[in-house]
Structure formats: structure tokens, C-alpha cells
Amino acid sequence: MAILDQILQIGFFAAMIRLAVPLLLGTLGEMFSERAGILNLGIEGIITLSAIAGFLVAYQTGNLWLAVLASALVGMVLGLVTGVLVVTLGLDQTVAGLGMTITCTGLAYFIYKLVFGAGGTPPSIEPFKTIALPFLSDIPFVGPVLFDQYALSYLAFILVPLTAFYLRHTPGGLSLRTAGENPLTAASAGVSVAKTRYKALMISGALMGLAGAFLNLAVFNSFSLGLVAGRGWICLALVVLGRWRPLPCALAALLFGGVEALQLRLQSSGFIDIPYPVFLMMPFLITLIAMMMVSRRVHAPAALLKPFHKEER
């Protein structure tokens, strides 16, 4: 019994990390654009459309890494499109972002139905396998939880300190932060606010693309219409909970990976006799409660949602 408990726990924590990865990638992506002053509300749609792009490539070629690349590229292009709308044209970020989500989600479903038709069994691919790191994965408990993950998971977690370093210690990071806090200062220091914001949006889109790739190449082995299921919106909240900083954002993502793992476990355990949608609701409800607890104490980047025009200097 004790052994069974232990296996269950290892399984639970490994699942928590696996489910945290898409949230982490999406959250880091959203954080990138928000730190530059752009709310990327296209997130839900960008993840969905880049997920189907990756899935199609994997389905056609069988090459998973090519699929990951395709997802990241599609995400990056969508970030670029968002840039045209909200940076160059200065459109309202909330409505334009939702427009991106409606368009991209519709397009993803359109493509899925076009390629795979309506009925029959949903198409699937041979998904990524976990890679057990030599020696490290032999450490009891910690090994199987942390060091027997997918290559993309390792990449996602390595990105956290890299992002933190980039934002804090590089000239590019400084321009990005200044564009989000005080674009006027950035512009008078000779930094192109528009270019900086474009760059941030493209990185943002690429990370969201990776989140999409991970969802249907590792977590699940197929694309389905409910694949993303509001995870993008949860990422938006996680950026707030993580106070727009990489490390706290990563912790928030881990925490909610845990919530999702717990939700799935409770759902399948049949232990508590309540309708299953209650479990599906859990991550959203807990996210909202967490937002209620922290929102008073956090501060968004000062120039978030504000378009910047050089002429208005």
C-alpha cells in the first residue's frame, strides 16, 4: 500500500509538471508582450492555430521536431500580424486581440475539418516520448518527477532563467521593459518602441506556438476542437499572479499544472461522486480566486494597453 501511494505521488507530480509546461510557455509568451506594453489577447487563438499547424506537419511527415518548428513559426507570424494591428495601426488591444482569437480559432477548426473531414476516429500521431536524463533520473522520487520529462519540458524550464536574464541584464531586455513602462523615455534614448514591441510580440507568439505544439505532440497525441479549452485565458491570469516576472510566473504555472493534475486525478478516481464538469471548472475557479487575492497588490507595466505614436512626443 505504501509503495502504491508512492507511485501515485510520483505519477501525480510528473503529471503536474507535464500539464504545467503549456501553461508555462503560454504565460512566458504573454509576459513578454505585456512587459513591452502590449496585451496579447490573441493568445487562445494563437495557441490553437499553431497547434493544428504543428499537428498537420507531424501527421504528414512524422517528424515531431519539424512540427514543433512549424508551430513556433506560425505563432511568430501571428505575433507579427498582431504587431501590424496594435503597434503600427494602433488599434484597441482588447478588441483586436479578441478579433485575433476569433479568427485564429475559426481558422484552426476550418483547417482541421477540411483536412480530416467530419466523422470517423480522430487522427492521431506518435507523440513525443519522455527522455530520462542519465544518473539524474535515478535519484529516488525527484528523478522520475523532474528528470524523466519531454525534451520540450526541459526547454520550457530552461527558458525561465534565460528569460529572467534577458529581461534584467541585456540591452534588449532593458529596451523591452522601458517600452512597456515608459515608451517616451525609450524613444528619447533612441530606442525604436515600435521595433521593440514587434520583437516582443514575435517572441510572444513563438512561445505560444510552442505551448500549442506541446499540447498535441506531448500531452495528447491528437488535435481536438477542445484542445486548448481556455488554457490561454488562464495564462493571462497567471501573468498577473506571477507579477509580470519570469520566476514567479513559472511558479504560478507549476501551481496550476498541479491544479489540473489534481482535477484529472479526482475526475478519474470516482472517489467523490459529483458530476465531472465540476472538476473541469476547478482550474478556472481557483484562478479567479487567486486573482481576487493578489490583484490589489500587483502593478501592470505602466504603458500596457497604450498605443505609442512617435508624432505625439
Partner: protein, 354 residues
């Protein structure tokens, strides 16, 4: 040669009417590429859409049936957005309204005459309450209302599904849909031998009411003032918090009413698929209407026609029905871009070579 944008004080009226049409046309031209990609002829596909959405008495009735919830969610977005309160929660508020309508509509003890009015009132109250939550959370705890309403959409959806697979589950068949409302709770049909029900009239009345609200009342004026500049509104002695709460609740009430229409006029029960994204379509409708209550009606009828038309077009040509969603999304983006031309005039300057 150089293009530049110059702000203008007022736009000519024809531009106000032409831009939404141009935005939708641009979107349909762009989506023609998708139809071609799917192996169909765009022109004939659009012809099928037009014919099956507006080509006859029954077709027009079906389009109006779909337009009713879109008018209401469009109005919901208009009221909230004019106060700059980003209520993206019309989807959830609609579901709450639908649940409230079923709750009332299935009560055996209520007198027959009271069923429909009580259903409407209950759905209005449910929608308003659901929209009060993000408004109060914003004011008291500084929770961002965009994120809050997006999360609430999922919370309400799963709450509804829990009801459907729990207390409301059909004990015999095990289907996940609610019991049917009483026959007397069904909305009257306006046009014989069609599905056109009371909902479209309610939507039109609501549009008129919102128009009067903003045109004639101090409340509407206050909401506009808050949206324009909350600080100035506060200094002018307006109760900004209360106005935002009222705008949010009015917005939610309108979305909730859309839910009653779907229950009372179309489904007679709650199903998991009761809203086909009407809450999100409302955002598109409101933007195409430039947040004007009168513009909401043609915008909603247009989007409804696309939705109804896409169904039949998909059946005949095999082009996926999701084309309708893409048209809506791109139309929204095109309209936002088109709005630049209302605020600015494009000047073309030819510069002498330096």
C-alpha cells in the same frame, strides 16, 4: 510621395454607413480564398449562402431567429464598451439567463400567464448578477474585468454542464440535457409555419430601449461620460463606480435575455450547445455597429445570415462550416482598421526630391 493621417473633427455620414459594409465585404473576399482552398467556387458558394439565408420566407425567418440573440449580445457589448467596461462575458451571462429561464419554465406551480414574463425577468436578473460579479471585483479588488469575464465564461459553462449531467440529467435516457419547459412557457410564434418567435421582437424593443438610454437619459449620458474620461466624470460629480456597475449589469441583463430567447423560442430546454458562440459574436456585432444601438440590428442580421447561410453552404459544397467564424473574426479586424478612416483623413503629399 508620402501618406499621412490627419485627425478630423467629424466624418461624413456616408462613411459611417459604408465602412461596416466595406469591412464585411473585405472579409468575405479574403475568405473567398479559403473557399477556393476547400475546392469550391467562392462565387457560387456565396450565392448558396445568400439564397439559403435570405432566399425565402422560411429562410428569412431562420436568419431572424439567429439574429435575435446576436442583437441582444451585441447590445450587451455596446452598453459595457461605451462605459469602457470590457465585459467579454456575454457568453456566460447568456448561459446563466438560459438556466434561469429553464428553472422558471419547468415550475409546475406557477400560473400559466406568468410563465413567460417570469422567465424573462429571471433571465435578466441572472445575467445582471453574473455581470455584477466582475464589476464589483474590479472596483473592490482591482481584478481585471477582461480576464475575469473570460474565466467566468468557463466557470458558468461548466456549472451548467454539471447541472446537465447531475441534477437535470434525464433519469430515463441519461441524456445530458435539461427537462423541457412547460408548453405554456414556450414563446409565441410570430410567423405561421416558421420558427420565428417572440425573441426577435424582444431584441428590437431592447435595441430601442438602449437607443433611448443613450440618446435621452442622464444615465446614458453618465455612462458615456465615464467611458470617455472617468477622471473628468468624477470631477463633474458623477458617481463613476455606480455608473460602471449599472452599465455592467445592464449589459449582463441583455445577454441573459438572449438566453431566455434560446430556451423559450428555440430549444425549450438547456443543452450543452445552447449558445453557438453568441456571446463572442456580440463583440463583432457591436464593433460593426460602432457601438451604436441602431447599428446593432443590421450588423446582427448580417452575421446571422452568414451563420445560417454557412450551414447550408457547408452541406452542399463540403466547405467546413467554421468559415462563418473566420468571416466574423476578419470582419471585426477589418472594421477596426476601417475605423481609422473615420477618425483620420488620409493625406497624400508629393514631396519635391531633396
Amino acid at each position: 510621395m508620402r501618406f499621412s493621417l490627419e485627425p478630423r473633427v467629424s466624418a461624413p455620414i456616408w462613411l459611417n454607413l459604408a465602412l461596416p459594409v466595406a469591412a464585411v465585404a473585405a472579409s468575405m473576399i479574403l475568405c473567398g480564398g479559403l473557399i477556393a482552398l476547400a475546392g469550391a467556387n467562392p462565387v457560387s458558394a456565396y450565392a448558396i449562402m445568400l439564397k439559403s439565408a435570405l432566399g425565402g420566407r422560411n429562410q428569412i425567418a431562420e436568419t431572424l431567429v439567429k439574429a435575435a440573440p446576436m442583437i441582444l449580445t451585441g447590445l450587451a457589448a455596446v452598453v459595457a464598451f461605451r462605459a469602457k467596461f470590457w465585459n467579454i462575458g456575454a457568453e456566460g451571462q447568456l448561459l446563466a439567463g438560459a438556466m434561469a429561464a429553464v428553472f422558471i419554465g419547468t415550475q409546475p406551480g406557477l400560473p400559466t400567464w406568468s410563465l413567460v414574463p417570469l422567465m424573462l425577468l429571471a433571465s435578466i436578473a441572472a445575467g445582471a448578477l453574473c455581470a455584477a460579479v466582475p464589476a464589483l471585483l474590479k472596483q473592490e479588488l482591482k481584478v481585471d474585468e477582461t480576464i475575469c469575464t473570460l474565466l467566468l465564461n468557463f466557470i458558468i459553462l461548466y456549472a451548467m454542464m454539471a447541472l446537465l449531467s447531475g441534477p437535470w440529467k434525464d433519469p430515463v435516457s441519461g441524456w445530458a440535457d435539461s427537462p423541457n419547459i412547460r408548453m405554456d412557457a414556450e414563446f409565441p410564434i410570430l410567423l405561421h409555419r416558421t420558427r420565428l418567435h417572440l425573441g426577435i421582437l424582444l431584441a428590437a424593443v431592447a435595441a430601442a430601449a438602449v437607443w433611448i438610454l443613450f440618446k435621452k437619459t442622464t444615465l446614458g449620458f453618465g455612462i458615456d461620460a465615464v467611458g470617455e474620461n472617468p477622471r473628468a466624470a468624477m470631477h463633474a460629480g458623477l458617481n463613476v463606480k455606480r455608473l460602471i456597475l449599472v452599465a455592467a449589469m445592464t449589459s449582463g441583463a441583455l445577454a441573459g435575455l438572449a438566453g431566455a430567447g434560446e430556451v423559450g423560442g428555440v430549444q425549450y430546454q438547456v443543452l450543452a450547445s445552447i449558445s453557438q458562440g453568441y456571446g463572442y459574436s456580440g463583440l463583432v456585432v457591436a464593433t460593426l455597429a460602432r457601438l451604436h444601438p441602431a447599428g446593432v440590428i443590421p450588423a446582427a442580421v448580417f452575421l446571422a445570415a452568414i451563420t445560417v447561410g454557412a450551414d447550408e453552404m457547408s452541406r452542399q459544397t463540403g466547405v467546413p462550416v467554421y468559415l462563418a467564424d473566420v468571416i466574423q473574426g476578419i470582419a471585426l479586424l477589418c472594421m477596426l482598421i476601417a475605423l481609422i478612416f473615420i477618425r483620420y483623413r488620409v493625406r497624400i503629399r508629393v514631396r519635391a526630391a531633396a
